[in-house]
Symmetry: C2
């Protein structure tokens, strides 16, 4: 008799964004005439930049001719793309990353979910609360969670991020093994300074821990003092892997491409305490379970790392940052406190009137047909909070803000 992975039964409800999508769809089916504005799931609305379209088209065209047709290639991605990433994202910021430390993938969701496979089943996981649910659920599936008791898994170390600590996790008091960090943060919209990251790197060095650094939103950073990569911090290469995505940088949510940086210096340890290269482990993992990103997609992605393509993408990001400003100004006018909204696409707001997150979700959906994401879906500390995203169309964002102002709060 074949038995299931019972860890799946410890997962709480359905995946957050599936649940939000389902409730929204149900409402829309019952009220087909109502115009719902979606600021919930962090999905972009602007089309791809023209340079990216041109790159994709070139890639497609190459697939139609025998001289330029592309079949299986190295799982880690084409060199033309990795070299462009190396130059634009790292060398230009004074960070030296080698080509074989860059892995092109289908996106940061997949990679941040898969990275935990490299580690033992009983390592101690430190996860911020609130947090992107993938970090939690992938570790639950892998059996690292223990039971779910009183809103939390017993074996995880939760790093509370609340108003009191500026919605940025504090360093754990005990030793942990794998630390999940995301800056600019999803969902709180906070960024980390070099000083803050330096303390994390020092903590990881001291405890022989590894940092999973999710930098999916780095393209939204406009403040020159804020680091885009954890590898801008000395010593980080020994203790961190960085996950990046074109989903928000270049509108690739439906085009799917990300990249993961695993330095050759990064290490974990076998049972005898002997260091093992994470780069080698990840390479073997990818060789065995992944077959690379479609060639046309990589051709399109390449354009994001040209001067012209990046300028076009930045124009789109500026558009979203303007949306964030509009939402933030609207909330300020209503006296609703929030975090994020600058250097970040996310606005993390305190629900008015002490509503629970799902109560506020229902109030917005049923009352004014605006969809956001309930903060409680990101963790216990998210209860009473709500996430809005700036990825909508500007006219809809303006309308959503007007509708929120019309609510009796």
């Amino acid at each position: 008799m074949i038995r299931i992975n019972e860890n799946f039964q410890r997962l709480q409800g359905s995946y957050l964004f599936s649940e939000v999508a389902k409730r929204t769809k149900d409402y829309q089916l019952r009220h087909p005439d109502m115009k719902v504005i979606r600021l919930g799931i962090g999905d972009v609305t602007q089309p791809l930049a023209q340079s990216v379209i041109d790159g994709l088209s070139k890639g497609v065209s190459d697939m139609g001719r025998i001289e330029t047709f592309q079949g299986y290639r190295s799982d880690e991605g084409y060199e033309f793309l990795r070299e462009a990433i190396r130059q634009m994202d790292f060398v230009s910021r004074g960070v030296d990353i080698a080509l074989d430390e860059i892995f092109i993938t289908s996106g940061a969701k997949e990679d941040t979910a898969n990275f935990q496979e490299l580690f033992a089943g009983d390592i101690k996981i430190a996860i911020p609360d609130p947090v992107y649910p993938v970090y939690v659920d992938s570790n639950v599936m892998a059996g690292r969670s223990g039971k779910f008791v009183d809103g939390r898994y017993e074996k995880f170390i939760y790093m509370d991020t609340r108003a009191e600590n500026g919605f940025t996790p504090d360093i754990p008091k005990e030793p942990v093994d794998l630390i999940y960090l995301c800056f600019p943060n999803n969902p709180t919209g906070q960024v980390a300074t070099k000083e803050q990251l330096k303390r994390w790197v020092e903590y990881a060095e001291k405890n022989k821990a590894v940092i999973l650094y999710d930098a999916a939103y780095e393209a939204f950073i406009r403040d020159p003092e804020i680091p885009h990569s954890i590898f801008e911090i000395d010593g980080a290469k020994q203790v961190a892997a960085e996950f990046r995505s074109l989903s928000k940088t270049a509108g690739f949510t439906g085009t799917r491409c990300g990249y993961t940086i695993i330095p050759k210096e990064a290490e974990a340890y076998d049972a005898d305490g002997k260091p093992v290269s994470l780069n080698a482990l990840w390479n073997r993992r990818q060789n065995t379970k992944f077959n690379g990103v479609a060639y046309p997609i990589q051709k399109g992605a390449y354009e994001v790392f040209t001067a012209k393509g990046r300028a076009e993408c930045n124009t789109i990001i500026d558009y979203y940052l303007e949306n964030a400003r509009i939402i933030g100004d609207g909330l300020k006018a209503l006296g609703i406190s929030y975090s994020g909204g600058t250097n970040s696409p996310y606005i993390w707001l305190k629900t008015p009137g002490n509503l629970t997150s799902w109560e506020f979700f229902d109030k917005l959906l049923f009352g004014i047909q605006v969809v956001g994401t309930p903060g409680s879906g990101f963790g216990k500390c998210g209860e009473g909070y709500f996430r809005l995203t700036s990825f909508g169309k500007k006219e809809e964002v303006i309308e959503a803000v007007e509708r929120i102002k019309s609510l009796k709060l």
Copy 2:
């Protein structure tokens, strides 16, 4: 101190195809003037069909306009593609599969590697020998293998497939939990009859086992009596999941799209023996760890399931089947015995002169600059065998056969 997943250390050498690619590259670097013919890794050489190129182009164009731009969509894939698959692959063969039993993915390598995540860590795995290495390695990484002793992992049940049983695995004598089957088979090129599959389904029913049915090469079946899907067998929906790929069906090795069928009737069991839906578990797995296939790729894939696109793809498959015939005829003329080559893109030959698989690999590479895949890389029973693929260019296949004939064997 963060510890690694020590199961990775039980993996044997590097991933087979990476090793073949590495040795070939090393040779080519040392002998840049030599023309190497690659019949090793199963990579196609013909460009994508025109309909597919048109579909991809339409998809790219849609991404450049705000009215047609596509962002996140359901992880399981667009309905237009799933409906087309349902009709062409299943309804047309008298098999009723629902839309929500079809999951669009990046390919069968990823899916067959990931499927084992749904099951307990100590289930008993039955794997043919020789076999596609991904089935083995993904289970080793998951800790199901035990030690590697004398060429085999102690906890796996190996199903020897040799000349004596027609290179088709026999049903195990003991109960097992998860059975890996692949027809047309990689690497032996054998197909399974309905009668044979019926016995597997009965075995699985009796033992409450699940069959992972890899049908990545079904498009090469030309004999009308041979089933394309395990779901053509009564009762299979309760005990099987089927994995398909456009890599060989439509030349998508570098375009990346596959699909997995998990019927709602398919079940595994919790510790109390209560049945749990595999469809629901896979859905949750995909929701959490996967974000869908790029929209332009799905638009291209759709064309494979139109009458026009399929006809174009079949012309390409006929081209490869002709290559297989040429290789087979050449081997026959040399008195080399082999399996496969009809209804299949693979030729599995007995190495002449009792050479080991890698000795024959070196003899072909160094002697006549032809690259194949050493049978021993697929398992212990593959020692003394060698896999050639029919995915080359016809003129190169002819030349490779002439070169093989010139060898002193």
